[in-house]
Amino acid sequence: MINGDDFAISIRQSRRLKWGERAIQLFMISCSLVAVAVTIGIVFSLVFESYRFFQFVPVYDFLFGLEWSPQTAIREDQVGANGSFGAIPLITGTLLISAIAMAVATPLGLASAIYLAEYAGKRTRDVVKPVLEILAGIPTVVYGFFAALMIAPFIRMTGTDMGLEVASESALAAGLAMGIMIVPLISSLSDDVINAVPQSLRDASLGLGATHSETIRRVILPAATPGIAGSLLLATSTAIGETMIVVMAAGLAANLTANPLEAVTTITAQIVSLLTGDQEFDSAKTLSAFALGLLLFCITLLLNVAALKIVKHYREQYD
C-alpha cells in the first residue's frame, strides 16, 4: 500500500529521475550533432581559408588557369613571384588517374559481382567475398609503395620495350593500383544491387528459353543499372579523393596531358606537397591547399549525394 508520504517521495524520486533522463537525452543529442558540427567545421574552415587565398589569386585564375607552379617568392620584388595557381592541370590529372582506375575497376568489379551473385555456389561466395574485402582493407600507403616499386618500373620496362616513352611516375601505374583498390567497393555494392533484382524477372527470362548470360545481360543488368551507377559514382568519388597512392606513385609534375604514360599530378597529391614541410601560414602557396581542398570536397560531395540518392531510390523501388 502506498500511503501519502511514500507517494510524495516516489513522485519526487521520479522527478529526479526525469532530470537525469533529460540530461542523458541532451547528451545523446549533442553527440549526434557532433557529426553535423564536423561537416560545418569542414565547410567553414575550407571556405574561410579559400577566401583568404582568393585575395591573392582571383577565383577565375584558379579555376581556369592552365598552369600550376606554386613557388613562393625568394625576393619580394621578384617578377612572377607569386607563382601560378591554375588548377586545370591538377583537375585533368585527377580525372585521368581516376578514369584509368575506373577503367580497371569497373569491368573487374562488375564481372566479379555478377559471378558471385549469379553463378558462384554458396561455398565459393563465402570464401571469395572476404578475400576480395581484404583488398579494400589494405592501407593505401601499401598500394602506393607497391605501385611505385613494382608497377611503375614494370610499365616503364614494357613500354620501353615496345618503343614507347614512359615516365618513371606514370599516371598508368597509379591508376592501375587504385583500380585494384576499388574493385571490392564496386563488387560488393553491385552484388547487393544484383541480388535485389526480383527472382521473378529471372524466371520470366529463363522461362522463355534465354541462357543465363542472356538473362543477366538483357534483363538483370538493365534492371540493376541505377544501383550499379550509384556504386560506380561512389567508387569514382573514392578514386578522386584517394591520396597516398598518387602521392607515392604519380608524382608532382603538373602536366596538362591525357597520355597515361606521362607523369601527372592530382589535387590530393598537391595538397600533401603544399602542406608537408615548412610552411608559413599566410602565403598564397599554403592557402592554395585549402582552395584545392574545397574543390575536392565539392566534387566528391556532389558525386556522393548523387550516388546515395540513386541507391536509395533504387532500394525503395524493389522493396
Partner: protein
C-alpha cells in the same frame, strides 16, 4: 524452330559459347583481383623478411687504458677504439681514403655499444674485448645478396677492396647475420641498419587510444539517439544524410580540418598523437555510428516491449536492455573503424605527424609519427636497405590489421545468434 531438343543449331552453339565465355569472364575477374592481392602481399613479404636479420661483425677491441679515463668512463672516444680495432685487423690499409672506407664497414652504433659495455663493467679496461657490432647497411645488403660487388650505383658502391675485407671477415667466421630485434624496439634513424619501428608504433597506439576514447562513446550515443529516440522529422533526416555523406568524404579533407581548426585555431600541439587521434576520431565517427545503428536494429523489438511493459522508462529500457545486447555489434564496428584509422596516412601528413622521430614517444602531446607514415617516409628513402625496412614495416602493419579484424570476427561469432 527445331524439332528436337537435342539438336544444336549453329545459332544455339554460338549462344552456348557466349554463355561459357561470360562465366569465364567472371572467374577471370576474380582471379585477377585475388592474383594481384597475392602478388602484392607475397612480394612485399619476400622483401620484408630480410629485415628480420641484421649482419653483425666481430671485432677484437683493445680497451687501451691510455684512451679511457676510469673516472669519466662515458667521455672516452670509443669511436676511435673501434677504428683502432679495425686498423689492427687490416694493418696494410694506409691511405686515408681507404681507411675511411674501412671504418664505413660498421655502423656508427658500434661506439655506443662499446661504451655501454665498458660503463657496465669497468674492469674490462685494459683488456681486449670480443665485440659483435652492427655492420653498415651496404655490408648488410651485400651479405644478404641484394647487391653484387661493384653493382650498386653511386657512392655506395662496394669496391674490390671492401670485398676483400668482407671476405676475410667471412673466412674467419667474424661476420654473421642475427635476428634483428633492434628493428622492433628502436626508433627511426637516418642509418637504415639502425632504424626501427617502435617510435612509429607507439605513435599509432597513442593516436588510436585518443581516437577510440573520443569516437566510441560519441558514436554509440549518437547511434542510440538516432535509432531509438529521434522522432522522424526533417532535422533527423538531415543528420542522417549528413552522416552518410561524411562517411564518404576523402580522408585528406579531415586532415585539412584538423590543420585549420585544431592546430591553427585552438593551438593544440602540432605533430602530436593527441591531434592525430582527434582527426582520426572525426573520420571514424560515421563508420561507428552506421555500424552501431545496425547493431541496435538487430535487437528484436520484443526486448524493448518487455522492458517497457514492466514499467521501465524508454531510457532505462534502452540502456539496461537494448544497448548491452547491441554492444558486441557496436564493438565490432568500432574495431573495424580503428583498423581503418590505423592504416590511414593522408590526414596525419596534414597535421605534421610526418616528423623524423628517433625517441619512442611517451605521451599524447609530444611529436610523434605513425606506422603508415613511417612506411611512407621510408619508402621515399633512396637506400636499398630502407626498401627492406619499408616492407617489413608494412608486414607489421598488416599483422596488426589482421589481428584487429580477427578480434572483430571473434566478437561477432561469439555473440551472434544470441537472440
Amino acid at each position: 524452330m527445331t524439332d528436337s531438343f537435342t539438336q544444336l543449331t549453329p545459332e544455339l552453339r554460338r549462344r552456348h559459347r557466349a554463355e561459357f565465355r561470360f562465366q569465364w569472364a567472371g572467374r577471370l575477374a576474380i582471379l585477377i583481383a585475388i592474383g594481384f592481392l597475392v602478388v602484392m602481399v607475397s612480394s612485399i613479404a619476400v622483401l620484408g623478411v630480410g629485415a628480420l636479420q641484421q649482419t653483425h661483425i666481430k671485432l677484437n677491441v683493445f680497451l687501451d687504458p691510455a684512451q679511457i679515463d676510469t673516472n669519466s668512463l662515458k667521455e672516452a672516444d670509443y669511436g676511435r677504439l673501434v677504428k683502432s680495432a679495425l686498423k689492427a685487423r687490416f694493418p696494410d690499409v694506409s691511405k686515408r681514403r681507404d681507411r675511411r672506407k674501412l671504418y664505413g664497414l660498421i655502423s656508427s652504433e658500434a661506439a655506443f655499444t662499446l661504451r655501454e659495455k665498458v660503463v657496465q663493467d669497468p674492469s674490462l679496461v685494459g683488456k681486449t674485448l670480443k665485440l659483435w657490432v652492427i655492420a653498415s647497411d651496404d655490408v648488410d645488403m651485400l651479405i644478404k645478396g641484394h647487391v653484387s660487388s661493384g653493382a650498386a650505383g653511386g657512392e655506395h658502391r662496394i669496391s674490390d677492396m671492401e670485398m676483400r675485407w668482407i671476405d676475410e671477415f667471412r673466412k674467419s667466421g667474424d661476420i654473421e647475420t642475427r635476428f634483428n630485434s633492434r628493428f622492433f624496439w628502436s626508433g627511426d634513424s637516418r642509418e637504415p641498419e639502425l632504424a626501427g619501428i617502435m617510435s612509429a608504433l607507439m605513435g599509432s597506439v597513442f593516436s588510436l587510444l585518443v581516437c577510440f576514447a573520443l569516437s566510441f562513446p560519441v558514436g554509440i550515443m549518437a547511434a542510440i539517439y538516432l535509432e531509438e529516440f529521434a522522432p522522424k522529422n526533417r532535422w533527423n533526416d538531415l543528420i542522417e544524410v549528413n552522416i552518410n555523406n561524411l562517411a564518404a568524404v576523402p580522408s585528406i579533407v579531415f586532415g585539412l580540418l584538423g590543420l585549420a581548426v585544431f592546430l591553427n585555431t585552438f593551438g593544440l600541439p602540432r605533430s602530436s598523437p593527441l591531434v592525430g587521434g582527434m582527426v582520426l576520431a572525426l573520420m571514424t565517427l560515421p563508420t561507428i555510428i552506421i555500424a552501431s545503428r545496425a547493431a541496435l536494429r538487430a535487437v528484436p523489438p520484443s526486448i524493448r516491449e518487455a522492458a517497457l511493459g514492466i514499467g521501465a522508462s524508454p531510457i532505462q529500457s534502452t540502456f539496461h536492455h537494448v544497448a548491452p545486447l547491441a554492444l558486441p555489434g557496436m564493438l565490432t564496428g568500432a574495431i573495424i573503424g580503428m583498423a581503418r584509422a590505423l592504416g590511414e596516412t593522408a590526414p596525419l601528413l596534414m597535421i605534421g605527424m610526418v616528423a623524423f622521430i628517433v625517441d619512442v614517444p611517451t605521451s599524447f602531446v609530444e611529436p610523434a609519427t605513425a606506422l603508415p607514415v613511417q612506411i611512407f617516409l621510408w619508402a621515399d628513402s633512396p637506400e636499398r636497405a630502407f626498401l627492406e625496412k619499408t616492407s617489413a614495416a608494412i608486414i607489421v602493419l598488416l599483422v596488426f590489421l589482421v589481428l584487429m579484424n580477427i578480434a572483430a570476427i571473434v566478437i561477432r561469432r561469439k555473440f551472434e545468434n544470441r537472440f
